[in-house]
Symmetry: C2
Subunit: 540 residues, 2 copies
């Protein structure tokens, strides 16, 4: 609730570069009686550019993130998820986890720094089958997935499956895509000696870039260099193309090339977060329009910056969504809020780029700093130093630097850090002809067709028993009784979207809800002809 | 499938102390033409006694585990989950993840080392509301949960909730319980400086031990010492009692004392794993009966050891389920398998304990080694050295030792390593009178009563609208349309078990399955009187 001493306070939404550094600079710029509160739905700052290295096991997860409370000792950090903002009443409503009672916080000045998310809906199958690289959870997921692929490839007898398991596709060849593909290739190369049945020639790591060269943000020469270095390390650099579709077992390019794979990482498709979208602020190109001062015109005491904001930049168009600009904008917003609270006029944001850099993995990087181009180890070291310089406290800096040094001499860690939470239901996207189940496979859940069509075919004495599973139909009901092996195949007749309800999840619901229980009790009689039922009764 | 060169092979089930060290010793004992394969459902060896330190953030997760492939370079490590063993055909059927095609492996000699699990069904509410400490996932879960409690306690205005959030209960005062409670207290004490609104006096850390003193495995004097040290650090050591029940908001002791808490860690209730149970081997006291040679009588070529086995020990009864004995048994089973393959007779297992040790956290430990009792820092160092000695390779040993040394000088890391997988449905256990929802709380899912009874009470103009939600009934249907705030309360009339289906999970199912969709379309008309419906229509 709004209390009197909240009268001159600043609330920051978001704990990324823009939000966290706004808090830091605000404490320097503001008088001590103005409180600063930062609301974030995770309790740490994540250095996103290092996430590929976490995924690859090059660095410890904890060395790529910093607890916000440690980084911002003077800021009141509030872990919660924002539900809505009332710009008239100047309040933020949020949920705080343990109790589902919404909490209202008043603000005098509001800094909106909510970043961006990845819109996976633009490419069919991406929502179901691609991974992103935005948060620590993403890094863990990719790491576990890649280790799982190697483990399975090492023990399978199925050559097609093995090829799929050992093909890794990264969509997008910008900073993030290049960093992911470089680290991924490095991790896999280092891991191979532990997988005696996987040969180096069987690995295929691909980066797919729509434009003519990698790293379009950098000068052509550096983009070419990056492409050449990655190619020299055996990475397949596909430029001038992009992905049209992903399925459970392949990706398809816009040129129609089908690449069988179990691993797609997408680094393209920036979009506003759902919260950002719901705030109702004026949007342009998926971002909040701000004045040159970073204030949001027409909204009293509201500022926006970082990746979620469209910040005009003199004659140069708009500020790019990079950490460098977020830091500069944070400095500017802190100065401007301090000015406004003193009754002075805010000043426009102005910054010209100092340069850019990217890591290619394998101790190689590319950089352009103050117009000077660098590549190789020197650029890579520069890139790492930049991160170290941002860490709070000498002891943390030292620990991170030492762990990095150790990594240079030690084998990468291959532990699957699986947290094994029981998963709820999820979707899969199948292309026409994809086989969802083959004879003898174990069925461990219920499969519901959301759109498209499946064909279930069970070989019989005189003729096959064929059942069409169309929209709204389901398959695998017997898994509600036991995990069972299929007697036949289940194949997509056309492009099909399927909801998979894992057995453990569905049993809980069926056993609790009478309507579901009654429905599934009647099912077997309806969909199987007597012959099939009889065979099943025999325990076949 | 069984191949000819599988004729003289050893298959090990399980990658804990017993399984992993069996593999190591087998390679030393066996001729080179006998292959050894280890099947495990995780790809790393976990040093369980260090898990409390991972949970507390004292050590990196990766320093408490070792990839099996790194630890056992000569063993074929197969990541998979065993479905069944055919002791007649001498085959193991397992699932390998990517493809749901079961794989059959032949064995000549089979080493069963599947460990134990925790049976949470013995105490009501434990399955729903307690955490265990057996795997890396458990350590992450406890860590995230404790950080979440501190974050929420720091920002709540609700004194009752704050007390619950800051009370931490560990059930069991054996090795594991003492290590968990010691590390937990230490972690919380170290974290407090980052939580300005949480006072030291508000923290309550409790260990509950059924017997008269902690660490019954050690001499009385060391158990007393451990109790005194933990008490001196502010830990509440409750002996001579145990827990009768856990609910969403409290635990109740057998003496009827109710302790409000959100955190219960259970370290008691050892039980066979589901797989172990399903194998059909002769059981006694929840373990496989073995001969003195570790062979399972009546089963050709089957051996059992470690926590899952009841190993006779001369006149002393049975071998205790400790790492020390698992290592010795591993050595014995390796020798005996080698003997049998050479046509010689196996020898009985014989080992008398070298001693035992436990960490109390805070750089304190207790130990009895070769009859010499030790306590304090020296026992703690001994305890750590024991682990270091087991790590593979000098460089790994060095890294772990250095990270430990760093921890001595650095603040603990408070990052919540939440992997944020979308959770499926789950159960909650409520005691009579527990309030599940209070006026104004956000409802984010469907609540189905499995057993017991809830009362929904919405204040009205003339009288309250009361609805009884009994077995099979559900509440919160409106959450299928939107997250909404309750207009009234939802309270347990008696002890009640509720299935919570989170909104995101349920929407997928409803939108895909017509039977569920049709059912919930009709619901509002049935359960709400017109006045309530009208208010809802007004958007109240």
């Amino acid at each position: 609730m709004a209390t009197p001493d909240d009268d001159r306070n600043v609330v920051i939404l978001g704990g990324g570069f823009a939000g966290a550094f706004s808090a830091r600079y605000l404490h320097r710029a503001l008088p001590h009686d103005v409180s600063v509160e930062l609301i974030c739905d995770r309790n740490y700052f994540v250095f996103q550019p290092l996430l590929p290295e976490v995924a690859a096991g090059t660095i410890n997860a904890l060395d790529a993130v910093t607890p916000l409370r440690l980084m911002l000792p003077k800021t009141a950090v509030r872990l919660g998820s924002v539900r809505e903002v009332d710009f008239q009443a100047k309040t933020v409503e949020l949920l705080q986890g343990a109790k589902r009672q919404p909490v209202i916080r008043h603000y005098d000045q509001l800094v909106v720094a909510l970043g961006q998310t990845t819109d996976l809906s633009r490419t069919p199958g991406f929502a179901e089958h691609s991974m992103t690289m935005r948060d620590l959870a993403d890094a863990f997921r990719l790491r576990n997935h890649v280790v799982q692929c190697l483990e399975n490839a090492d023990i399978t007898d199925d050559e097609d499956l093995k090829r799929r398991l050992l093909t890794f596709v990264v969509a997008g060849g910008g900073f993030s895509g290049v960093e992911v593909v470089g680290e991924l290739a490095d991790m896999i190369a280092g891991a191979l000696r532990f997988y005696p049945n996987v040969g180096k020639h069987e690995i295929r790591v691909i980066v797919i870039q729509r434009g003519p060269r990698l790293l379009p943000e950098l000068p052509d020469k550096l983009g070419d260099y990056a492409g050449a270095r990655l190619s020299a390390r055996g990475i397949d650099v596909m430029t001038g193309t992009s992905l049209r579709e992903a399925t459970a077992s392949a990706v398809v390019t816009v040129d129609g090339e089908k690449i069988p794979t179990q691993t797609v990482v997408t680094t393209v498709g920036n979009a506003p977060t759902p919260l950002m979208r719901s705030l109702g602020l004026p949007f342009d190109r998926g971002k909040v329009e701000t004045a040159a001062t970073l204030a949001v015109p027409g909204y009293d005491g509201v500022w926006a910056l970082g990746d979620c904001a469209l910040v005009p930049l003199g004659d140069d168009g708009y500020a790019p969504p990079t950490a460098q600009f977020a830091l500069r904008e944070a400095k500017c917003v802190a100065r401007n809020i301090a000015a406004v609270l003193k009754g002075q006029a805010p000043e426009p944001f102005d910054h010209s780029t100092r340069g850019a850099m990217a890591s290619l993995g394998h101790y190689q990087g590319v950089a352009e700093v103050f117009g000077v181009r660098m590549s190789g180890l020197i650029a890579w070291l520069l890139w790492r130093s930049f991160y170290i310089s941002m860490l709070p406290g000498l002891s943390t800096k030292l620990r991170v630097a030492l762990n990095w040094a150790f990594d240079y001499v030690l084998p990468r860690n291959l532990v699957q850090l699986d947290t094994r939470e029981e998963r709820g239901s999820y979707f899969v996207h199948l292309a026409k002809g994809d086989v969802l189940f083959d004879t003898g496979n174990i069925v461990d859940g219920l499969y519901v067709v959301v759109s498209g069509c499946l064909e279930s075919r069970v070989p019989g004495g005189y003729e096959d028993f064929v059942r069409i599973v169309g929209e709204g139909d389901h398959w695998g009901e017997r898994s509600l009784v036991e995990d069972f092996k299929t007697q036949g195949t289940l194949t997509a007749v056309e492009d099909t979207r399927v909801l998979v309800i894992p057995r453990h999840d569905f049993l809980k619901i069926r056993d609790s809800l009478d309507v579901v229980d009654n429905y599934f009790k009647r099912i077997p009689d309806k969909i199987y002809p007597p012959a099939i039922r009889a065979r099943r009764a025999d325990g076949e």
